[in-house]
Point group: C2
Chain length 499, copies 2
């Protein structure tokens, strides 16, 4: 029997640098790898969406739409893939349906193929419009389950969630494990359950981070259960808070009855390319190689450092242990949302408030909105007392409808706003950019002509740092001019290494 072919999605161009280096990689550091990526035999190439859009205009003075078109041009043979936050698109609020349609249409037009659509609360109503918009323009609509654990989250529940996504017309299901919580056996059970329930031909893509050190094993169990495609990152862009290494995944399958069909020589080229690039962004990297704390605390690393910062700002850094115990209480009261952006921040901040001021003495505006249903529905019931308290405090009704149903058509107004901005180029793409990041886009439009910035270090800077680190770090190595004042008399002195 010939081995079953497992598809691989390469995430080096999106989630890998988002996870490892705060989404800072410049386009010029990616283009050199594209020909090899395009021809290595990947199922798809994740290269857009998530935080890359925001990072482009906020940090890199780069037009994200142009980035997409460049990828399209450089990788004509590949399925390009993006991560889309459902009704939030790539921003941080719900958008009215026509804006969702427009964004998807323009993304497809500029070159996108596979749309991985998710919602932080796993509320299907927050995915529906984006999914149907993708179908409308002929894209691949990938419905996503955000994996988390709680007393209410069960294998059966995830299988049912997959059914809801398939009912929306999902072309495939993504099991998304952003916190590296997905252990081998639950992965097996969920994936087998989906296949058993909806048919073997149901395509399942598995996305795991590597933070906890267990998920390479999860990937093998996932494909043993029938998973079709897995996400990995080329080894030189892998591990830590990132993903499992592509070459290792391919190699480990030997003799198992599975194979990737990836071209190992192309992979080596890609690896060598990013091996040169990664050190340029070292200042953005976390030091953590592996961390299993999340299994005990349920609190993702990013959320932890966030809460620590809030406590420090209040001079209460020593109360972290109390906050850690409060988080599960708040999460339960909110109906057990998965802890990802934005729910992780909302729950975490409320937990900090509870510890500092007394439990629920003050609700944050966001927590009140969460309790009132303005982010959507969670798996669990929300604490009814807190819903009443939120209602009183926020002077808003609790809602049960889809949050976006409350929005009025906004496209014309968004266009009018964009048109008033200096540097606006007249396109729908620019309207969308401003709609998504109204605080950042206007500035970007005025500086766009200066072209992209590279915030990584140059090879020369790296070489100099290395030289300094290897010697006596405090010694003067290049001429430096000091102004030295002695007894009221100033002199300018140039100091440089002697012979």
């Amino acid at each position: 029997m010939s081995p079953r072919q497992i598809g691989v999605t390469e995430v080096a161009l999106r989630d890998a640098h988002q996870s490892l280096m705060a989404t800072r990689m410049a386009m010029e550091d990616m283009v050199g790898a594209c020909e090899d990526i395009d021809n290595a035999g990947y199922w798809s190439v994740e290269c857009w969406g998530g935080a890359t859009f925001d990072a482009c205009i906020r940090f890199l003075n780069e037009d994200p739409w142009k980035r997409l078109r460049t990828f399209r041009e450089l990788m004509p043979n590949s399925r390009l893939q993006m991560l889309l936050r459902g009704q939030n698109l790539l921003g941080y609020r719900h958008y009215e349906d026509m804006v969702v349609d427009k964004f998807v249409e323009k993304s497809k037009e500029n070159g996108m193929d596979v749309f991985r659509v998710f919602d932080a609360l796993n509320d299907p109503r927050n995915l529906e419009r984006a999914m149907s918009a993708v179908k409308q323009v002929g894209g691949h609509a990938q419905g996503t389950i955000c994996y988390t654990t709680s007393p209410l989250h069960t294998v059966e529940g995830y299988i049912e969630q997959a059914g809801r996504l398939l009912n929306m017309g999902a072309d495939s299901i993504a099991l998304k494990d952003m916190a590296a919580l997905l252990k081998p056996q639950p992965a097996y059970d969920i994936i087998r359950g989906i296949k058993d329930t909806y048919g073997e031909e149901t395509q399942i893509n598995v996305h795991c981070h590597s933070t906890t050190g267990v998920t390479m094993v999860t990937l093998l169990k996932a494909i043993e259960a029938g998973a079709d495609v897995v996400d990995t990152a080329i080894s030189s862009m892998s591990l830590g808070p990132g993903h499992n290494p592509t070459e290792s995944f391919a190699e480990m399958l030997e003799g198992t009855g599975f194979e990737t069909g990836l071209d190992m020589h192309r992979l080596i080229n890609i690896r060598d390319h990013f091996k040169q690039v990664r050190p340029k962004y070292a200042e953005f990297e976390s030091k953590t190689l592996v961390d299993t704390n999340i299994f005990l605390s349920q609190i993702p690393g990013g959320m932890l450092s966030n809460m620590e910062g809030q406590l420090r700002a209040q001079g209460a850094a020593d109360r972290m242990d109390e906050v850690m115990l409060e988080v599960p209480v708040v999460r339960k009261d909110a109906g057990y949302p998965p802890l990802v952006t934005p729910s992780s921040q909302i729950v975490g901040t409320q937990a900090v408030f509870n510890v500092l001021m007394g439990r629920y003495k003050v609700l944050t505006a966001e927590f009140a909105d969460l309790m009132l249903g303005y982010y959507g529905e969670c798996i669990g019931e929300r604490n009814p007392d807190l819903i009443r308290q939120a209602e009183a405090q926020a002077r808003k009704e609790p809602i049960t409808v889809r949050p976006a149903d409350l929005l009025e058509p906004e496209w014309d107004q968004l266009r009018a706003e964009a048109e008033s901005l200096p540097g606006f180029d007249g396109t729908d793409e620019d309207v969308l950019t401003n709609a998504l990041f109204p605080g950042v886009a206007p500035g970007f439009f005025t500086t766009r002509d200066e072209g992209p910035k590279n915030v990584g270090k140059t090879q020369e800077q790296l070489a100099r740092e290395k030289a300094v680190a290897s010697g006596q770090a405090n010694a003067v190595r290049e001429p430096i001019t000091y102004k030295i004042t002695v007894g009221g008399r100033s002199q300018t002195v140039k100091v440089e290494p002697g012979e």
Copy 2:
């Protein structure tokens, strides 16, 4: 059905720092973790042998026997484990049988429990005496298979090798994957084969490095096949050229029908301890997180950098590709030895010679010895033409007997040699120390009284480095005195940061 209990050997105190930081960790950086290690529920604690003995006297001015006794005292509840190179003991030549007996006896007396005995060529005759010596003193004799791949290495061959070790009275079998070459499916097949052939009660320990990124999966497949004990390193001392993280291994088993029974709170203490320690030794660490090259080249990383150094020294750094192609030729001619110390150095150096001077124009003395059988037998036949050439060059007969059979009793002479050394303390332990490292022990004996050195950086040094790295690296931060000469007139100038 209750989960099957999987034993874990913690390697943080031996192989982890040998692999990650060139065996440099000072005893004082380990003692603080011992109570937690002793009570975490490990099957055994690897803490001695391998390169630690050498490193103790060569770099740390520390008596390795005293280190063993300290571990014994600090971990009264644990099986202490060591790695022993068969007839080579911990040195780099064969020792006469009585020396082997003595070393094992003294190791047991000073506190050792589990002796993992291996030979680089997998020649059972090089293990026999050490194994029987361990049995003699009531230790746990663990017979070891060094895993490698070649056209001659088969699952069946490894199963047969296990049989030879069991015939020697092995209390358990170790499958030792020093190069992270062991993929999940071969691991499964070998281990299942051993259990099927020799009985389910045959204890199998699995030792994998993590270099290639595939071996966490290997560990799961190994225990699915019936493996009883696996080697891991606490997460803060894991990954890269080291081992898979202990906590991740424990966590990933949830729901699989296996469990470790390890105390997670103890593990967290151990982790936090070494999290503080590891940065002190950063200068000894390799930058490589994951590297799958070995699957293509069969050449372990350490061997590669060795050969590169040899080429550079000859001004032939550009001929590495030729050497890479030559290694498999030399390895085949030598009968496919596993490429570990010392065979990796012997094969690698000969490959470099072949490229620089023409194939086999010159044989190194060590390669000639290997061809003549003086290191033992390999799995494959050695090239008969080269055996004749080695015979002529080395003026030695090829041998087929066990190499140690050619040795005369040497204990009395070794004692006499030791007695002539200043600082010798009269014990058999000191005789053995000098016997193993005659080039290093005499110096160590004279400086022993000064006590152990710590070659790691202090927390203060680390803090200062961090401060320097975060600022303008070239600026003067502490007073530095320069001699400045202007127009022939020299002045001493002290420069320090202004206000």
